[in-house]
Symmetry: none
Subunit: 214 residues, 4 copies
Amino acid sequence: MANFPERLIKGYKEFTSSALINEREKYKELAEKGQKPTVLIIACCDSRAAPETIFSAGPGELFVVRNVANLVPPYAPDGNHHSTSAAIEFAVKGLGVKDIVVMGHGRCGGIQAALSTDGAKLDDGDFIGKWMSMLAPVAEQVAATDQVMTPAERQNALERVSIRRSVQNLREFPYIKQMEKDGAVNLHGAWFDISTAELWVMNGETGDFSRAEN
Amino acid sequence: MANFPERLIKGYKEFTSSALINEREKYKELAEKGQKPTVLIIACCDSRAAPETIFSAGPGELFVVRNVANLVPPYAPDGNHHSTSAAIEFAVKGLGVKDIVVMGHGRCGGIQAALSTDGAKLDDGDFIGKWMSMLAPVAEQVAATDQVMTPAERQNALERVSIRRSVQNLREFPYIKQMEKDGAVNLHGAWFDISTAELWVMNGETGDFSRAEN
Amino acid sequence: MANFPERLIKGYKEFTSSALINEREKYKELAEKGQKPTVLIIACCDSRAAPETIFSAGPGELFVVRNVANLVPPYAPDGNHHSTSAAIEFAVKGLGVKDIVVMGHGRCGGIQAALSTDGAKLDDGDFIGKWMSMLAPVAEQVAATDQVMTPAERQNALERVSIRRSVQNLREFPYIKQMEKDGAVNLHGAWFDISTAELWVMNGETGDFSRAEN
Amino acid sequence: MANFPERLIKGYKEFTSSALINEREKYKELAEKGQKPTVLIIACCDSRAAPETIFSAGPGELFVVRNVANLVPPYAPDGNHHSTSAAIEFAVKGLGVKDIVVMGHGRCGGIQAALSTDGAKLDDGDFIGKWMSMLAPVAEQVAATDQVMTPAERQNALERVSIRRSVQNLREFPYIKQMEKDGAVNLHGAWFDISTAELWVMNGETGDFSRAEN
């Protein structure tokens, strides 16, 4: 095994000599008292859409799940491993988060794969194809506009359709549905334009996205 | 649905008025050219162990998967949804990352759950129990040292055992095994002490962890 | 017949006592020499999307055609009255404009009518239904996404699809097609967000719209 | 396709930094509540006769149709596309405007074409010739005064004859005729002298035009 990536060591040293200076006490305290983040964010793995960066979040603030295309799979307590569902359960039932944000972004590779005719199979194991296949029904409907909408428009459309679906899938967790009704947890959608670094927020009633400053 | 969390909007504004100032061009370029991160990090959802923070990483640098206890499940191309495996496939085959880092951390709630006698069941759906059960064989062995090792020692021990297991599970991906042999991809382990903000790096041969500056 | 609307008289007086002060000479000169606008804009009748306002244009600058939903009908020299086509011919062949802009806008009533299941028939004479029916093929495709896209998203989508179609219909005028090839005339698309007063400009190659300042 | 006309971008920036400052709220409100203009103006495309300029109108005030020579074609619900008729129907039946103004102007190129012996054919497709031919009967009669009236006098004469005809054609819309009788809608004529920027208003009974301030 090769040496630990030099760039990461360098970045870590930068961390300890700048950001950490004002936060040493905070880390100590969080270790002793435990974490109590109030927000769970389900975001994408994409290197251009990091929640801590976008929301200037420090230690202890955000509980972050990141998977390809920031998907919340349908609720399926069938005994299989369910990474994202486990994280959601842990955040809500274990840590008591008050807000859950599903954050998508522009130019999402996973969404692009879902819109490709061949599902953009990368490998025979085809994990990414199977993962993105949970969007197949809605991806088809968006893809069907290919005679009138541009590729970029279809991409954006599915990114947002997917966020709405994921928020809806959150409600399939029986306790989340109940907690939302009781006002104990709030569900949100957001979409980050990686080109302009603009943040769009979803209107809970209409499902429409508009820029955070508008 | 309630308003988007005020704290996040505030954090976003902070982002646009500080960090973003010097990075606007970078975001634009990354959007146009696409992302080409060289590192894939499998990290924990924990709010105190964010890769971008720890490694002072900017947009385009890290492709980040975050799940509870930063686990890489055993390779299982069985047609089910496999979030972490999909992300790994996407990063390696789709984006061509050169380094894969499994980063665990101290005080990990998932690891703590794995060491509890009842698997720390949080809900009948019990996603977290099922998720952490993939560590059951090794968790049992570590738990069995309870007559001699303190809870904190067993916690640290399992955190590191788990990292080693996850790195080993990475090698079960046929192409990763081959690429590692060819030197096309390198596998790494790391452990972040959230109390002291110290970074420990895993020795590829022995599996031992030592502090980054040593 | 009632008196001329008071509000218009008032507005006219405001014009003569302010904007006109600096432009009297200009009007005189334009009357003597004739108009030589370099831009033809096909815009909507909508009271919230006036080209002169949006582009701060003074006398002599813009030759403006306004119809419901800023449509350029398919080229059809069949002897019937063709208001918009006549205006285009006059602007290009008679006045020698260099740029033709098709400008649509958000919340367009005509587009909304095109997306309604009943074509939003207003009268037995049904001029508006027949007028908007030229969009029927593309409207149907956009409307078919109603299971996944919100009404506002479909509205925006068709507004933009329609602008692209209209620009394409401009090219059906044989002389426009030729003049564009020769670089004698340029075709453009634009979309005005009446809520935020933001102007979006169409990329000639991809057909995608992006904000003027980006 | 070339870049969006620089002049328009410049004018748009001027708009956002001056006129828009006081009207942002207005645009937002109009978007949310919808437009409710009380006046429909049928004006000419001419760059020197813009309604918003002449009447100092802001967003939401005027619903504007602009075609060559501000013509209201004869009422003909024959299934063909009728741009101006569609706009009139939309304004009256859809938006409930209370006043309809047909505004002509001096030096009108369309009127000039109608008075030319060859109908000023610009192209084999000859849209402008066909469009202006709806004035042929009255144009002939005005042209026949060429032994006694100057070209400018014949020009002005036909401009005003045409306005009267268009107002009359409005009455052919069954519902407009009825609504006028009921006082629900008022029809007006106006003529703008582009040389002096003077506005002339038509007397509903006699059809004569006199200056607004008289």
